[in-house]
Point group: C2
Chain length 294, copies 2
Amino acid sequence: MKSYSEQYAAYGNALEEQLRLECGRRFVPGSAVGEAARYSLMAGGKRVRGVLTLAFCDLLDGDRNTAAAFGAAVEMLHCYSLIHDDLPCMDDAATRRGQPSCHKKFGEATALLAADALLTEAFEVIAASGAQNAQAAAAVACLARAAGGRGMVYGQELDLAFEQKQPSEQELTLIHTHKTGDLIHAAGLLGVLASAHTPQDEEECGAYTRAVGLVFQIVDDVLDCTSTAQQMGKPVGSDAAAGKITFATLKGPAAAMQQAQQLTERACERLTGVYGGRAEFLVELARSLAARKS
Amino acid sequence: MKSYSEQYAAYGNALEEQLRLECGRRFVPGSAVGEAARYSLMAGGKRVRGVLTLAFCDLLDGDRNTAAAFGAAVEMLHCYSLIHDDLPCMDDAATRRGQPSCHKKFGEATALLAADALLTEAFEVIAASGAQNAQAAAAVACLARAAGGRGMVYGQELDLAFEQKQPSEQELTLIHTHKTGDLIHAAGLLGVLASAHTPQDEEECGAYTRAVGLVFQIVDDVLDCTSTAQQMGKPVGSDAAAGKITFATLKGPAAAMQQAQQLTERACERLTGVYGGRAEFLVELARSLAARKS
């Protein structure tokens, strides 16, 4: 039996391998747009979303090849959102994960197109995954709903709107439910969809990923207050400097962290209550995301 | 039996109705991104792509509701590409169809997100179309392949690259095969996929849409030389002024138009040879696209 960190590494490797394959397949050799997409996609990161897909698939004894494709698709979609987020008309970020952001390295037009292609190809990765047609159709619907005009894009719109005025805690939760939560939720659900499953499995997955998504954002906000730029691979303290309301500035880092811990423990208890020891990896994952330092 | 223009109007109305429905479903009420998407999507245009989907579906006696959804999806995807094309880092276009371009009216961030949402939701429209799962999965693959890193986005990359150097006729054809041709090809194929069909149907559709796609671009280039801004709803003569090589500047407008006519007639003969009188609408469509003045 693999330890948590061995299992995480195994999931990560499976995703890197799948993403490498997709980069080779989905762009014309020599294409600058393909190079820019590969630069951003293969720049590392924790691959939390893809790991969630693989872990929920394993929880339900699903098809790992299907889940690897679905996990790669959700990582490609996440990567597109980061590239567009970094553009001058959005967050105007010069670096990402300690490296020049995509448009800084390749120019705005190429970065825009690279992200457009990653978003588009994410859906082809699902369609070409070898999954049964019903699974593929459900996965496309799941990912599109999470990423579209009532999902992640709506969250980005809310986030931009609240740069102009101070959101309440409720509004902040609404922003993050969509901006980061919907895609994390979809990531878990894609693992469920890669497996034979019951409506209860979907519901349990939803309860867990909704909690993890919110905790992920709370911890992000706290780390922006308390971490160093070296740990984070990006500038920190930017939220407070910009007068931006976050979970950390709203209630203070300590109280925010306490809420994150409570949400995490409640989600882990619920999952263990249903799946027992099979949920161990997902329990460890939730705890390590709440305890992360970068 | 409807005349050609009555049938075109009927197809156009079916698409407008479907697009209106999708705008209502796919965005949160009051969302600025939703308003921007609706502004660009409902601004008219000839709906050639969606009409191709509906016409190929009718040619093969397919399911019209499925084809209306697939046709709406291809129009949404086309609309996203126009919004991103108009952005300052791309063509920096202030107007589109005689109106302010999306980013001029709503700002760059909102326009960027509106297009991202339209691209994403195009895939959900297919997944939620009520088509059989196999049809939906095939349609997602078809649309993603046409629009992604080896399709439309690659064409846009080539187009940007050839702003720096003068393309040959062969290179120009390669650009347009991808930049505009792949999506027009997919549009027809989506109509085939909405119907019971044989491999020959796919092949005949491909031959026709490839010809129509190239003719569409040749005529566009010729009109940029010979038309007025009022007819076109956008500035004309911009290609020549920018020293841009097009089919019209490469061989002269008259020779380019002659090539367009030949391509059109050959495609129409082929389609009529296989489908006889059933192909009449598509024959008229190809001829009217070659003869259009705007």
